[in-house]
């Protein structure tokens, strides 16, 4: 029961959740773009990055958004215009659907599905549709190649991602994301509960597989063949201009943020601190102020994880399409299956 929900009426709650959802999607996206895409990348490439708009170029993103909003919304003559215009929205919708199950505190959530993991993995793949639709509807050969590559890649990497998550689910004995957080923070490592038991320790292989799959799911280098600016000239995004391109752009980084949120819940203990620090026994005893501190903790963990994602993106060249598929089917999936088997055996044995 959300303590906030008791005090405000239903319509107030709805508005509160919509605003909260927008903030939870757009704030991470903006932070990632400024912090990593503008500044970290510039630092790695021995340049300054944007410096003019606002202090240290911090308003650059707003300027960019303003620029894109002003541009003409063009659809190619041969494009299937309705679908062409819908595609970016499908991709962005998937991001908003994802954020719905992410808990930011003991009671700071939008919805609390009992099968939250299942839901998250299901709606996470909706963006594939958007990519495929965008590629097909653009009436452009490069876009088509990009869209088909994207579909093949996202399907291939959906599987290791699901399988890596299974290890966590087996260990936590629950598919509820808040319950997974609770298990991690009340857990013990060899009888020592001072750190809780974040699953990154017991499920390290799973964590690596999950992060690699996320990298591919987000089409970030080294898995950015659907975009592949030097071969396919941005692939499925080639024909998009103005605010539709902006939506793709936001969705790319917002999804990165949301997946990092989910990864931090599954493997890093989510919003929680080890409960023994404050003498809490279970979720119901957690103090109300964790609802305010929790999002901050989540945000920090999200930044760490997206930092790693972006770091890899800026330093690696990309695979070839066949190498990517080989890597997924012949290496990641067998490895994640083995991970599940080992987890299950240990779960029963210990």
């Amino acid at each position: 029961m959300s303590s906030l929900a008791i005090e405000i009426p239903y319509w107030g709650q709805s508005i509160f959740r919509v605003v909260g959802g927008l903030v939870a999607v757009l704030l991470p996206a903006g932070t990632i773009v400024y912090l990593f895409l503008f500044k970290m990348m510039s630092f790695m490439q021995s340049r300054l990055g944007p410096m003019e708009a606002g202090p240290y170029g911090s308003m650059q993103l707003l300027a960019e958004v303003g620029k894109w909003m002003q541009k003409e919304d063009i659809a190619p003559d041969n494009a299937d215009k309705t679908i062409f215009k819908m595609a970016p929205l499908i991709v962005l919708t998937s991001t908003f659907l994802l954020i719905a199950v992410v808990p930011f505190g003991p009671e700071a959530w939008f919805t609390d599905f009992s099968a939250g993991v299942f839901y998250a993995l299901a709606v996470g793949s909706v963006s594939v549709l958007g990519v495929l639709v965008a590629g097909w509807a653009s009436a452009n050969k490069y876009s088509l190649l990009g869209g088909i590559r994207g579909a093949g890649q996202l399907i291939a990497y959906e599987l290791p991602m699901v399988l890596a998550t299974l290890g966590v689910v087996i260990q936590a004995e629950s598919m509820n994301l808040n319950r997974i957080v609770e298990v991690q923070n009340t857990g013990e490592i060899f009888g020592f509960g001072g750190l809780g038991n974040p699953f990154i320790l017991t499920q390290f292989v799973g964590f690596l597989i999950f992060m690699i799959a996320v990298q591919a799911e987000l089409t970030q280098a080294p898995f950015d063949m659907p975009i592949a600016e030097s071969e396919l000239v941005s692939g499925f995004m080639t024909e998009y201009t103005g605010f539709r391109f902006l939506i793709f752009f936001i969705a790319e980084f917002a999804t990165a943020g949301v997946f990092a949120f989910i990864a931090s819940i599954l493997f890093l203990g989510g919003w929680g601190v080890p409960f023994t620090w404050f003498g809490w026994e279970n979720l119901d005893e957690v103090a109300w102020w964790m609802n305010l501190v929790g999002p901050g903790i989540m945000f920090t963990k999200m930044l760490v994880l997206t930092g790693i994602i972006m770091w890899v993106r800026f330093s690696y060249p990309r695979f070839r399409e066949d190498q990517l598929q080989t890597f997924a089917w012949k290496f990641l999936i067998p490895l994640s299956l083995a991970n599940i088997v080992v987890t299950a055996i240990l779960k029963v044995a210990i």
Binding site: M41, M44, Q45, S46, R47, K141, Y142, L145, A221, P222, D224, M225, A228, E229, S230, E231, L232, V233, F314, S315, Y316, P317, R318, F319, R320, E321, D322, Q323
Partner: protein
């Protein structure tokens, strides 16, 4: 020397097999993909028409000529000193190196030779333009595969070399510094010390690129075994420069012919690689950049004193005759077949540019590869568009 290594042999067989398979199995309707003329991978306006079966290339042909400027015709209405302005723009990243073979050909016809000091400075500038050219290539390699960081390092360090070239010649891109009988000017004060420092930096840059890019597993998996060109095929198509040496042929015009230049004063080596694949071509270029830096470092200590210009008449008339001079330019063998009729200008100049031959092999080598390999193979062959179209 011309024996094929095992890997080359395998690559050749694989390409023939791919050829045969495609001819038999081609049942689906292919797609024709136009890569270029405006495409980020073609560094300019090269157009590649590729017929695809899924991601695989069934047939590909480059279509050059979007930047043909007719230099061979234009040289016929220019005087000899004026021609250098034109040929500067053939391979615009290594401009000074373009001037040298033409000037040498004219000097050969006039039977004069530049003074020793001019020869050494010429060689230094020649190698500097190679460093400037190939360092950009090394950075660009990453971009072709989506690694955006190396190119910034390349642009950063190439700037030092361009500054040197500018310091000595006054032009960053098109120096037009070489004259029949010597050089336009002597070196400015302090240039030698600065060059030594920059060369140390550039060798550091080569190490950096070797770590960052060549040591990367993904880079290796993209490059190794892709686009194999056997030695015999490379010779038939007249590949030159690093492309030829990467197929295991030990042939470098700087070492293997007698020109009034100063490469023999320095201690350096010609690198070859037995594989003939994209990796080999890039790797050989990397080593060559290092060798160029070493050549410059050594020659800087050996610049003799004296004039930089031989005695030549004010209005140059080149005696009747024909001369062929080619040098090992950054892109490969660049040569000029100069025919003079005793006039102030050449009667006919045949410009043999490296990229023209290097790119003419693409229909052969692109058969059966995947679409992303088109980009890496083109990048590893390394062409400058002006060098194809002239």
């Amino acid at each position: 020397m011309t024996m094929m290594s095992d890997r080359q042999q395998l690559g050749y067989i694989a390409s023939q097999a791919a050829d045969a398979r495609l001819n038999v199995e081609l049942e689906t309707e292919g797609m024709t993909l136009n890569i270029g003329p405006q495409h980020p991978a073609t560094h300019g306006t090269l157009r590649i028409i590729a017929r695809l079966d899924g991601e695989q290339v069934v047939w590909a042909e480059p279509s050059a000529g979007y930047m043909h400027r007719g230099y061979e015709k234009l040289t016929e209405v220019r005087s000899f000193p004026q021609v250098t302005t034109l040929i500067n723009r053939i391979d615009w990243l290594g401009s000074f190196a373009n001037e040298v073979p033409f000037i040498l050909a004219a000097e050969k016809l006039m039977e004069i030779e530049a003074p020793p000091r001019a020869q050494v400075i010429r060689t230094i500038l020649f190698e500097l333009s190679r460093v400037a050219n190939v360092s950009l290539f090394l950075g660009d390699l990453g971009v072709q595969m989506g690694a955006i960081t190396p190119v910034f390092l390349a642009f950063r360090d190439r700037e030092y070399v361009l500054n040197l070239i500018e310091g000595a010649t006054g032009g960053r891109f098109h120096p037009n510094f070489d004259r029949i009988g010597g050089l336009k000017d002597d070196l400015p004060k302090g240039w030698i010390d600065e060059t030594k420092q920059v060369m140390t930096k550039l060798i550091g840059f080569c190490d950096e690129i070797e770590d960052l890019l060549f040591g990367n597993e993904i880079f290796q998996s993209r490059m190794r075994g892709v686009g194999v060109i056997p030695a015999t095929v490379a010779q038939e198509y007249g590949l030159s420069g690093a492309n030829l040496r990467a197929s295991g042929i030990d042939y470098d015009l700087r070492r293997d012919q007698d020109l009034p230049m100063s490469w023999d004063l320095a201690d350096w080596r010609v690198w070859t690689h037995p594989d003939g694949d994209s990796w080999a071509r890039c790797w050989v270029r990397l080593q060559e950049t290092r060798e160029s830096c070493k050549i410059v470092q050594q020659l800087l200590d050996q610049i003799p004193s004296g004039p930089v210009m031989a005695k030549v008449p004010r209005i140059i008339k080149v005696p009747e005759g024909e001369a062929w001079v080619s040098t090992e330019n950054p892109l490969g063998e660049m040569g000029y077949y100069v025919v003079s009729k005793g006039d102030t200008g050449p009667f006919r100049v045949k410009i043999r540019s490296a990229s023209f031959n290097n790119i003419s092999i693409t229909p052969w080598v692109l058969k059966g590869v995947y679409v992303p390999d088109i980009i890496t193979i083109l990048a590893s062959l390394y062409f400058i568009l002006g060098d194809i179209d002239r």
